[in-house]
């Protein structure tokens, strides 16, 4: 007896960290066919590459000979530091893959034949993901580097961001025209933020700048006004890319990664959103496009209601506002992932509250454990085709001038 014709055993019976991205994402091709995604212009406004794979290459871009020596000594002498030197990688992040249940979060350890450098390997992995998900353009961010906003030594954080930004713009962007990026700002140092914009704003592929993960600096501080003015004048969006931290005062009570992740990403951006709106930054810089990234959507209608409710009673606390806080929030932009789709009615109300057809931009967040495929947007039952086209790419085309 033999197996029948028409039976093909999958070469990969179990997907692991060594499985090719194209095989991991093979089922996304069904969505391409089902929803005709090849006919859409799809921009993924939040995805990630694996910069720690290229860490020794990135550290070569450090300006300071002293810091570069520190990095070299760490890599040489500390057994586990060859790809972590100077970094503030929080140990809790290694819980993200749910104990190996979601392998692509832990590592994309697949083969990339012919890739002679970390940058080439990175670009290869990014291309595989884009092609598998029918994505036309992908805005690519680092991963643990986004934690630099929480680095205990702000000077080191600034130096690492500068090195990374130089590496990314010289090694990644020139290799793949479908890749774009918003570069991280050394937010603890407002002057260094200005220097970052000056140095990189005109580089092809740089389409904005990011405030990453940090939640301890008030975004309304006077020291940041020149930065916002500069970005507004250049027509470059500012993005707030949320990040988790299990050591926040609130999340430090939490005993499960689920709890800390669910709360921490959101409260990070809730904090900034509150200061941003109540201090009237949208009134001061009406042309500055603001994007809230990787914190999902469910928190937005909550904040709209909460801030409006308080504003009506305490208008004198927010004297720069001429409209309710929700008005300003509705004029900002949001990336879609992780789109909390557990209840159709609640999600529909959320999308209506934020004016999703004009404010929402698709993001995959690949290769993170809670990534969303484009079919997630295409399958929404309560949006028309025009709205879906906007969310999947047309709004991003407008916001970033693509």
């Amino acid at each position: 007896m033999t197996i029948d014709d028409g039976v093909r055993r999958l070469p990969t019976q179990e997907i692991t960290t060594h499985t090719d991205s194209r095989e991991i994402l093979a089922n996304a091709a069904r969505d391409t066919e089902r929803y005709g995604l090849d006919e859409y212009f799809i921009v993924d406004v939040d995805s990630h590459h694996v910069e720690l794979d290229s860490w020794p290459e990135i550290l070569e871009y450090l300006d300071s000979p002293v810091l570069k020596d520190t990095a070299h000594q760490m890599m040489r002498n500390w057994p586990q530091a060859s790809h972590l030197a100077l970094h503030n990688h929080p140990p809790g992040l290694t819980m993200q893959d749910v104990s190996g249940r979601i392998p692509h979060q832990a590592s994309l350890a697949e083969e990339t034949p012919g890739a002679a450098s970390g940058a080439e390997r990175d670009v290869t992995l990014v291309r595989r993901a884009m092609d598998a998900m029918s994505i036309d353009l992908q805005v690519v961010f680092p991963q643990p580097m986004l934690e630099t906003g929480l680095h205990p030594q702000p000077q080191v954080a600034s130096a690492l961001l500068q090195a990374y930004n130089r590496w990314f713009t010289s090694q990644i962007l020139p290799r793949e025209p479908r890749v774009r990026t918003m570069l991280g700002l050394p937010f603890e140092d407002p002057d260094a933020c200005l220097a970052t914009v000056e140095e990189f704003a005109d580089h092809p592929g740089v389409i904005g700048f990011l405030v990453t993960s940090q939640r301890h600096a008030g975004v309304h501080r006077n020291a940041y006004m020149p930065l916002y003015r500069m970005l507004e004048e250049r027509g470059l969006p500012i993005g707030f890319h949320a990040g988790p931290n299990q050591a926040d005062s609130m999340t430090s009570t939490m005993n499960r990664f689920l709890s800390a992740h669910a709360m921490s990403f959101v409260t990070c951006n809730m904090t900034h959103m509150t200061n941003w709106v109540i201090n009237g930054i949208p009134e001061r810089f009406p042309g500055l496009k603001t994007i809230w990234i990787e914190s999902g959507l469910a928190w937005v209608p909550f904040m709209m209601q909460r801030l409006d409710h308080e504003y009506y009673m305490r208008q004198s606390d927010a004297p720069l506002l001429t409209k309710p806080p929700s008005h300003y929030m509705r004029e900002m932009y949001y990336t879609s992932q992780p789109m909390e789709w557990t209840d159709d009615a609640l999600l529909e109300a959320t999308l209506r509250a934020i004016d999703a057809p004009n404010s929402l931009m698709y993001s995959s967040d690949w290769p993170h454990w809670d990534f969303d495929v484009p079919g997630r947007i295409a399958s929404l039952p309560f949006l028309d085709d025009h709205a879906k086209r906007n969310i999947l790419g047309e709004t991003a085309r407008k916001v970033f001038g693509l």
């Binding site: 007896m1 197996i3 029948d4 028409g6 997907i15 089922n27 249940r101 979601i102 789709w341 079919g375």
Partner: protein, 136 residues
């Protein structure tokens, strides 16, 4: 969120996919049956001696649920005073985990343990004369 557990479309063809001893206890075999647009990928699993088969398509976002980790259900043990004694595997259980996002399914029901309407589409599977046959 959608489920593909709709019971529609009666099976059109039965395939011999291999010998019974090729799927050990707590093991699996993932096969694509048919060609072109009609092809269906199915995971066949053995637990407590019985075979269970599901389409390789997660109810969440369509991920390859049958190609993920096979793991026992995690339980939290409590003492008589309802104090936590920590986490433990429930040895007499078998979950298949979608590698895209971690959705877990009880292999005997194909359903998510906390939200049973999230379910894999079951596929008819049988054993006869030491051979495994799947109907799609």
């Amino acid at each position: 969120m959608t489920t593909t557990l709709d019971g529609s479309a009666p099976p059109r063809r039965t395939y011999d996919v291999g010998a019974s001893d090729e799927i050990a206890e707590r093991g699996r075999l993932v096969v694509t049956l048919g060609e072109g647009a009609d092809a269906v990928t199915v995971g066949v699993f053995r637990f407590r001696g019985r075979l269970h088969a599901y389409e390789n398509r997660c109810a969440h976002q369509g991920g390859p649920a049958c190609q993920g980790r096979i793991v026992s259900r995690v339980r939290e043990r409590l003492d008589d005073a309802q104090r936590s004694l920590g986490l433990a595997f429930e040895d007499d259980s078998m979950h298949i985990v979608c590698p895209w996002h971690g959705f877990e399914y009880d292999v005997t029901t194909g359903r998510h343990p906390g939200r049973p309407d999230y379910a894999l589409r079951p596929v008819t599977v049988g054993e006869e004369g030491g051979r495994i046959r799947v109907s799609v």
